[in-house]
Every structure is written in C-alpha cells, then in structure tokens.
Amino acid sequence: MGGRFCAFSFVDRITGLDAGAGARGRFLIPAHLPRFPSPLVCEAVGQLAAWVAMAKLDFRRRPVAGLAGEIEFLQDANPGQVLNLEVNVESCDEDAIAYEGCAHVNGTPVIKLSRIVGPVLPMTDFDSPAAVRNDFETLVGEGAAGARLESLPELDLTPLERVPGKSLRAGLRIPADAPFFSDHFPLRPVFPGTLLLEAEMRLACDLAADALGGPPGASVTVIRTQDSKIRSFIDPGQTVEIRVVIAQPQGDEAMATIVALLNGKSVATGRMAVGLRKGP
C-alpha cells in the first residue's frame, strides 16, 4: 500500500457537506494502533476543513497549517473508536481559510478548535489536483478504506538543557524519509504541524510535571493551546530546537510558552496550559 491518502490521512468519509461553508466527517482510529495522540485528532479536523476549502477552490489551491487561536483538549480518543468530525468555515478564499471545528466520540466532545486560520497555496506545489479531486470523490461517495494508517509517526526528541520546573530545550530531528511524507505532501514533503505540536506538548507536560507536583503517580496533560502558529515549513532531515518556558503555576494549571527554532530562526510559536490529569 502506498503512502498517499493513507500514511497521514485522517478522514475516512465526508458524511455531510455544505459547500464552502462546513462539513461533517468521520475517521475510524485503527484498532491496531497503540494509542492516538490528541494532535492527530486536531489533524483530522483540520483535514476535513481542508477538503471543504479544496473543493470550494476547485482543487486549484489548498490550505496548509497556520494559526490555531485555541485548541481545547477535552478527552482522549482511543484506537478502535470513531471520531465524528465537524467544521464550520467562517471564510475561505484564494489566500486563507478561517474556521472552527470539533471532534466527538460516542457523542462526547474530545477536542474543540477555535479561530483557526490557514494560508491557502497553489495545489500544484503539493499534489496533483486530479488525484486530490479523485480522493475527494471517494470521501464524499462510498468513503475510503478504513485502517489505512499502518503506524504512528515516531518523534525523535533529544534533551539539550533543563532547568527543572522552569525551562527546557530539546532537539527534534525530522527524519529524512518517513511514510507520512508521501502523504504530507506527495509533491512537497513537509513535516506536519500537528506532529510538531505533539512534540511540544510532550515537552511541556514533562517540564510542567516538576512545577505542578501533584499526588504520586499523577500525570499531567495539556488542557488547551493558545495562539499556536507555524511560521514556515519544516523539511525532511532538518533538526528543530524546541524551547519551553513554564510560568509559576496558578492553582492546578501552569502556562507554557513554546518556541521552535530552525537555524536560530523562529518557525513556530505558541502557549499551552498544562494541568494535572483528572479522572482515570
């Protein structure tokens, strides 16, 4: 099985389409996966919005990751569950898409995205318009085959420096080759912003664990992100330095400020509220 429309595709079927304005869709999280990181739920919602935009723009242009005003992480989604996705497009033109969206599992919200903005770029820079149109027809028709995702992308994080409870630096080595690059995107491999977000979330939780304390065995989780921004593409083979600084906790939450650097230049920024995980 090739990577295209498989290795980093998180919509199985578009179940409702309000042309240019919104959509509903679904994605069955393959049961064979060991877990399903929350940023990939964001990816699923974002991909549904991208389908709305690409169809509206007749597959001449496509959105890419840009800004996420706020993402609320409400609950985990697990292998074997069906994500029900929904997006409402505020605006979509030749330059940008603005939308909000959410994902539910069994009627319970797992993630909510607000004030999302993505730049819209020429499709031919990334993929074949005809092939993408064909994939869209599949999604609005009978749907794509389930369980196409064979494995989760691995993140190669190396600690560089740490001041417990205050700050850390880590290197994220982007592989020169990986299955997801053949899907994201076939003609222009780009490291997905949601994988960078996953790396940032892991580091923020790791650092916040020192600051938040909590009962023995308590784990920390990202509650929400704010103003996450991807400022430029990250290519295969590059190494990104991620810096996390955490503020003094307020109650049972602490705010982490993140910057990702490539050759000393900021390629992504954002903030995230991290807190002790509640419930089981």
């Binding site: 840009g66 005003g69 940008a96 730049p119 400022r231 910057v259």
Partner: protein, 141 residues
C-alpha cells in the same frame, strides 16, 4: 480621494497596534518602532500578516479584507496599469509611494516586484489600515 490620516490619529491607535504586533511576532514591544520594516527588521513571515490582520480585526472590531493594502494603493487604477507581469509599472510605483507615505523613500526599489510590496509594510502602515477600516465601518458599529 481619501481623507488624509493625521499623525494624531496614527498615534492614537499605535500603542494597541504595537502590542498586537509584538504578540503576533513574539518580540518585545520596544522593538516595534513606528517605521520598522516588519519583514526586514522584525522577521515577519507571510503567516504573521494573516495573524496580524485577524488580531487587529478582533481588537478594533473592524473588518480588514485580505489584500486591502495593495487594493487601496491601486485605487481606481486598472490592475494592468498598476502592475504588469508581476512588476509595478512607473505609475503603479508612484501610486504606491504616495499611498505608503510613511515608508522611507530609500526602501522603494525600481523596478519593484508586486510580491515585494509587503517588505515595505511598517507598524504605521497597519495603524493606517485600522484607521481606514474604522472610517469605513458603518456608524454605531
């Protein structure tokens, strides 16, 4: 002919615009000088302009259509009179210099690609964008 924007009007919105710019670019507000080039001096990327416009819209409760600066600079000129094959015409460049009067003259190049216009933008450019949007908003909004 558009009504001139006074320095007083610019300075009235500048503190808020500067703070929004600093937030959007992740830099200290002290670095945001009125005549700084957002790209050359503050390392702004194209996504930062999108971010900035959305933040300004929320903060000032105005609507700023994307591409508004170039559209307003072109005014009633036909697109082919403003630029040809991606390069500004002499008339287009003259119009741009007049419209972006806040930008130091030496930053304009001749010939100049239309794609390079954002390199000229300064914090004052966006102060003026906000003021024009406020003027264009229906009364009471």
């Amino acid at each position: 002919m558009q009504q001139q924007i006074t320095k007083e009007e610019v300075m009235a919105v500048y503190p808020t615009v500067a703070k929004i710019l600093a937030d959007a670019l992740g830099c200290d507000v002290e670095r945001v000088k009125l005549d700084a080039s957002l790209i050359e001096d503050l390392d702004a990327e194209s996504i930062d302009f999108l971010d900035l416009v959305f933040r300004l819209e929320r903060a000032f409760k105005v609507k700023i259509p994307r591409g508004k600066i170039v559209e307003d600079a072109r005014g009633e000129l036909a697109e082919s009179d403003f630029e040809q094959q991606g390069v500004l015409t002499d008339v287009g460049l003259k119009r741009l210099r007049e419209f972006l009067s806040e930008v130091p003259a030496e930053r304009f190049r001749s010939p100049m690609k239309a794609a390079d216009i954002p390199r000229l933008f300064t914090p004052e450019t966006f102060c003026k964008v906000v003021i024009r949007a406020q003027r264009a908003a229906p009364a009471g909004t």
